[in-house]
Symmetry: D2
Subunit: 343 residues, 4 copies
């Protein structure tokens, strides 16, 4: 349930409302978006007399009973969400942003080399994983919080904003301090402890679609964050699970225009993880740009052969390949009346 | 098993080979592609002494035991397959061909109106269904063979080659007489009676991917046709089955560059059936062009409201929308160094 | 559309109705089930004035416009369909029938050996494939019509009814002469040319679920046959496509009780093809019996090592394993108040 | 990497090993199972000289480089894992345990009523959710930690061990204090922060399969817990995502015998969530028992109409239906040489 306060509602009235609704079976949050104030109610709502609430003069509206998503819907913010990203911004329907970098933070020299190359190729942000979710506990799981710090330092050196994944709600605060964008990985799209914690901060979140999540479920996950107070969210299509094995996942590119009609949030496409094959990254990146993606997430490494996870070498572009790709993107974007974001 | 004859093999030797291999548990076919002659053996092969055969001087080679596909692989015809299509051609890696038309042949006036509009918009071929496979026997299943005739007449009038689906092996001969391209629908990709019959003619075949077929299975279906003697085949990605319901199927666009590396056959994309939503046809058609599709299959109708299957109205473009799309395709193709086929 | 004739409707009235509805865009069939007479209309129906038809005194009822399935629904034949099968019968909700045999008809000696073993183990019918749909044209595709004849001879010798797959509508007549039950395989569930032809005969049909067909689509395929005049149909769950690779397919066992509520047709389970692993056949066969399956399809071979398709050896039981299974089935069936059909 | 210590390895040697391997890019854990001692290494391992380590006399063995699962494999504990559960135990290959209860902890009176009914019907443990993961933040998400306390009190009153889900690693300690078994839900199977924390306690864990997780991925998730030191794990099949909509999910029952060969962990089946239909719970519960499930998770409610989540009423049995089910289970189990656990 979402209760919108009238512009003239006083703080006392809000507190009174919260007290009236207090119950261990629900959680309340005050959120403010677009100059409007709301109290969101998660959990039990059947005992709340909606029509009586709606009659209060300091309450503007009370949501429908079966509301599933509200803040993330297009209608809530027709102008589209804008997420500041270093010298540029990630904007729904805006110029194309390219976020690039190695899959994993390894040592400082390697990260710096890739970061410089990525910067000089024209990318707008640096992405690298410090916490890596894996299918086996015995695989490399990233260097952890020291990796976040290293990434932040390298980002500052090359003057690129940094993006990295957080897995544990207990690491969210640290991520908010060190990163420009916190990534939620595909394995954690339904991790509600993590989503809930991300709602309590204001740092932008890059929310990846679960590999078998319907678009409505992806929006539901975003609404979990938004209902807590954080609407700085970008959605990322990164391939869905299918029966074919030619590509690692199946890139669901029609999700881009379909999501555009459903939500005001920026839409990111990750062709590297979707296909798992560097020879498919270029055509799929171009196709994504034409289909309307607001940003691309591209895996790049200066020396793929040295990667700790050798499997990922198959999908990482070399810096000069990224440069080529950006040049081609520029041409293709022009053809559809768009352009690359300034870097 | 595929036995390649030497250039100097005589007809007597070929006949002797066929007699030697004759067995109710296998079928033999003589096929000639690229100036090379083969005898293909479907079925039992364990009793054949491959190494002895290979020693015959008039036999050039005998395929590996576990061969699954051969004629449809890139390596067999590196130059790519070219399918004549009216005044133009559908060529792997060639100029983009647009095949458009109504889902279904209904009455003559309607078909002619759409055909003229499609022609004047710049499409290269006319597609309409006379035999419609359906999920319920009580739904409209097309007008049948009279529809094929009508389509052929209308195609001649507007000077467009015509494409239509055949469901029954007993209709293949008629289709070969009346049509320029015979379509095999998604429900019949594994209909081996139909595929086998299509191998006995030389008419081009547009083979649609089964909605849950892996790419290797699609190539296997094409090889069924090719092993009988017909390599005039184009493959069509038309959306695969997934768990999401926002689009009718999930367009697997990375199948285009992936197939390009696997096969020399032209690759067609059908964004209309893949998405089932006309608002997604334009972005997905542009994305397909950029990803390398050789042809697009676009549903168009002059008066969608009048369609016998009202559900399809949701995916049919109006003629002026097709015209717009062709203009945009032209610009986008230029950006990737391609162009529309001449019409 | 389904038009039920009144009991007193004359033949002249029926003919007149057919003439009135004659149109190349629809097909009509007269069907008689449960002592009731119907004219089914496939295809175009929008121009038919349903309410006017319904007013004719010799017409009992006219179906709803959007009817998808009717004859195959539970409500049409609450007593359940009974299919005669040699000395026993396959009946919805009846005693458990076991259909067993080798995947493929190979040579006579082998088939006879397996047939005798299957018979003496207590199975009720013999199943073996003469036409084998395959993913590659170069694999063994069965011995064809000579295999059907051999199967019929062997069945007569061991006094077991025989079941085999037909792929091509042109082979339906031969199948109807030689077989007791015609199987439609998973790859042909949507082959409407085949389904339509099977509607014109009265021979029982074992219709396998497409590997990615929803239950409603399976019923739709059965209705295709039934709308032509043949309601002697059994449905077979044989595993659906999923993302896991531990079993060949995923046996959807809850389809058994779910289908029971939807249809009066007998329900068969094929644990051999569903799992592809003989060690899983026993537990899944027992589970299927407990879940309410009316029949089981079990792959058995006297000498799996000799099989032409070695892959299938992994799923074939030996005769003594079938005997054990039948003994265990008997005990488990008793526990749920059921029993094995008499053999 | 898993390093097994020799029986005579001293604590000093273990500490020295840990110091030698210390690196921010990996995590080490000491685990003891089956009287054997191990140091597990998660993360970076390429710089470790495995062969040199293996030569140390106080090291018994060093695992293979690409090891994915070890402790959860059948070979590690051939006798099967035994999890104490109140007066009985949940044992791989043991007597059947029934865990029952309402989906959600609501008020005390309701929970106590259902708990008493479940107890008197013969169930062995009480399950109810205090933290409920949901697809919308505005749905009821459970009463939280007060619900865990209430569940523990009610369990003590009716003398049943209690099972409930934990979503947040910060709640694991509380769960370990209040519960007998901690459930990890399907949405959190890949939540590695949660799995890692569960590895640091010794409380049994009921790990539900992700709705699109392969069995190898389920075992990988279990290994995440086990590699931290907790091998008290039961696996739960609760239905996988498929394309059909007749049941909420598709119960993958062949996962039971398949997992039995892969792992020594007990295997639980949840027919209530798998099917979402109470009419299918009974046949699927019986089938699961016959297929070898060690335990069943059954949703039961004294008054389904009163449930906060009305959708769940569709799958909850009434207490007398649970009683009937237990009686039928007893008979069916006898038929396969098994029995219900004593309650």
């Amino acid at each position: 349930m979402i209760i919108e306060l009238s512009p003239h509602a006083t703080d006392d009235q809000t507190v009174a409302l919260e007290q009236r609704l207090a119950d261990p079976r629900r959680r309340l949050a005050r959120v403010e978006y677009e100059g409007r104030r709301f109290v969101t109610v998660s959990g039990l709502r059947d005992d709340i007399d909606r029509s009586r609430l709606a009659q209060e003069r300091w309450i503007a509206s009370v949501s429908d009973a079966d509301l599933k998503t509200f803040f993330v819907r297009s209608s809530f913010r027709p102008g589209g969400t804008v997420i500041p990203l270093g010298r540029t911004e990630l904007r729904a329907g805006g110029d194309l942003v390219v976020i690039a970098g190695p899959c994993t933070v390894e040592d400082e020299a390697g990260l710096l080399a890739t970061a410089k190359a990525v910067r000089s190729a024209g990318a707008h942000a640096l992405r690298a994983g410090a916490f890596k979710p894996r299918t086996s506990p015995y695989n490399f799981q990233g260097v952890g919080s020291s990796g976040l710090r290293l990434l932040a330092e390298v980002g500052a050196k090359v003057q690129l904003p940094v993006v990295s994944e957080i897995l544990d709600p207990r690491d969210v605060q640290l991520g908010a301090e060190l990163l420009d964008v916190i990534q939620v990985g595909t394995r954690n799209m339904t991790n509600q402890a993590l989503l809930g914690t991300l709602g309590t901060i204001r740092k932008p979140v890059l929310l990846k679609r679960g590999s078998s999540a319907r678009l409505e479920e992806l929006l539901g996950a975003a609404e979990f964050i938004a209902s807590g107070g954080n609407l700085n969210i970008a959605l990322c299509e990164r391939g869905i699970q299918s029966f074919d094995t030619v590509t690692r996942n199946t890139l669901d590119l029609s999700a881009v225009p379909a999501l555009r009609q459903m939500t005001h949030l920026p839409i990111v496409v990750d062709p590297s993880h979707a296909t798992g094959r560097k020879d498919l990254v270029r055509p799929m990146a171009l196709a994504a740009a034409v289909a309307g993606a607001d940003a691309l997430l591209i895996e790049v490494h200066v020396d793929p052969a040295s990667m700790v996870r050798p499997g990922d070498a198959a999908q990482a572009l070399l810096p000069h390949e990224l440069e080529d790709l950006l040049r081609q993107l520029e041409i293709v974007l022009t053809a559809v009346g768009r352009k690359l974001a300034r870097s």
